[in-house]
Symmetry: C2
Subunit: 258 residues, 2 copies
Amino acid sequence: MAEKILAQEKNVYSLGPIIHNKNEVERLAKAGLKTVEKIDQIESGTVIIRSHGAAPEQIRKLKEKKLNVADATCVLVKRVQRIAGQLERNGYKVVIIGEENHPEVQAVVGCGKDVIVVADEADLGKLPKNGKLGIVCQTTQSPEHFGKMLGIIGRCSFSELKVINTLCQEAIKRQESAVQLCKQVDIMFVLGGLDSANTRRLAELCKKYNNETFYLQNWKELDIKTIFSKNIAGVTAGASTPDWIIAEFVENLEAFGR
Amino acid sequence: MAEKILAQEKNVYSLGPIIHNKNEVERLAKAGLKTVEKIDQIESGTVIIRSHGAAPEQIRKLKEKKLNVADATCVLVKRVQRIAGQLERNGYKVVIIGEENHPEVQAVVGCGKDVIVVADEADLGKLPKNGKLGIVCQTTQSPEHFGKMLGIIGRCSFSELKVINTLCQEAIKRQESAVQLCKQVDIMFVLGGLDSANTRRLAELCKKYNNETFYLQNWKELDIKTIFSKNIAGVTAGASTPDWIIAEFVENLEAFGR
């Protein structure tokens, strides 16, 4: 979507980095995409809402400023936002299990008056006692972590929990495939941006099962010594890792093997 | 309620043992209470529905036979039954976390068309994939176990969970007090019937924190050698343990101490 718009317009903005991948952000910056942190920095033109979404209040402000809004929010993220709003309207205290500072989580927080973010056990003190909680999850969390947190919340005092599974099934499949693959190889590479929540999750999972797991942004970051004496390498990548980074990595790895 | 009815009527029945306490059941049997397992065994008179409740179908049958029904179902158990029915009508697959053969659980099972009983991990295969589950809990389970099972269910595939906390807060308080007490004594006694779910839970919990925990039905079962050389004894009892059993035990224990 960004490429298409950039081919037609001059003033094209992304509210925050369009994707959690430095190399891809740089490539699109060269093609003319301007990344801004605040709406005040935009005077006119088109603003792309990245896949992680934006809070309704931000979109309202953009429209108020008569800016064109190109909404590239992931449909699954839109669903979390919609569900969070519905749960709040239905009298539930909304809880999102996820990383406080992740833009997806921040956008969901913006969909309610008082959404509680629970990253781990340390955040449980934020929950009301005997509450009626409406629980959703950052789309890229693992079912393991989601279940673990539900178990801990379930041990606390609550009157009702309404839990909507908002995990991305594609991310789960990717996690399962990565775990399967990493068990069969001598060395495992997880490619992707360091800010990418779903890539980080992949790396954490693979590291559990294969200690020779390396989380890299691209081929340049590889310390070639790590592949000496290894026979089989596995490669996986986050949802935000562009194909060209994966292709480049695999080609170089194969060339090295030959 | 049983005593009052027995003082006025001759044909008084209990559908299943009125309480999970052998001594109390024997005492009421001497006072005239007849315990039956099946409705066919009753021809006329009054039938007491015990605190664990009965399935709506059983109550319908009793009324069809023109029997008087004296409903002594615990209000909290009635609540679980009502919630299970509501959840099913609202399109949820009803799940009760509890012991399959416990009469309370059986009565709740009778409140829906297809209620799934989950006692532990081994029962998770009974759950539908990607289901919309309405989850309740046997009133006398511990928050620990309830949370643990929610955590395990949360790791599985599901689309939605609606969890209503149906734990008995009195039972939880009793568990907390018992745990606190057993940590401060040399020997701990848990008094109650061997079929009593809430008494068994107390005994399991105390055993965790004080290895010198003994689960007894009454004073007669005490092996006096166990209290030799002990300074402080703690005593707790299940909700179904009559006061006279507790009083007798404590009096004898105090007399022994003197």
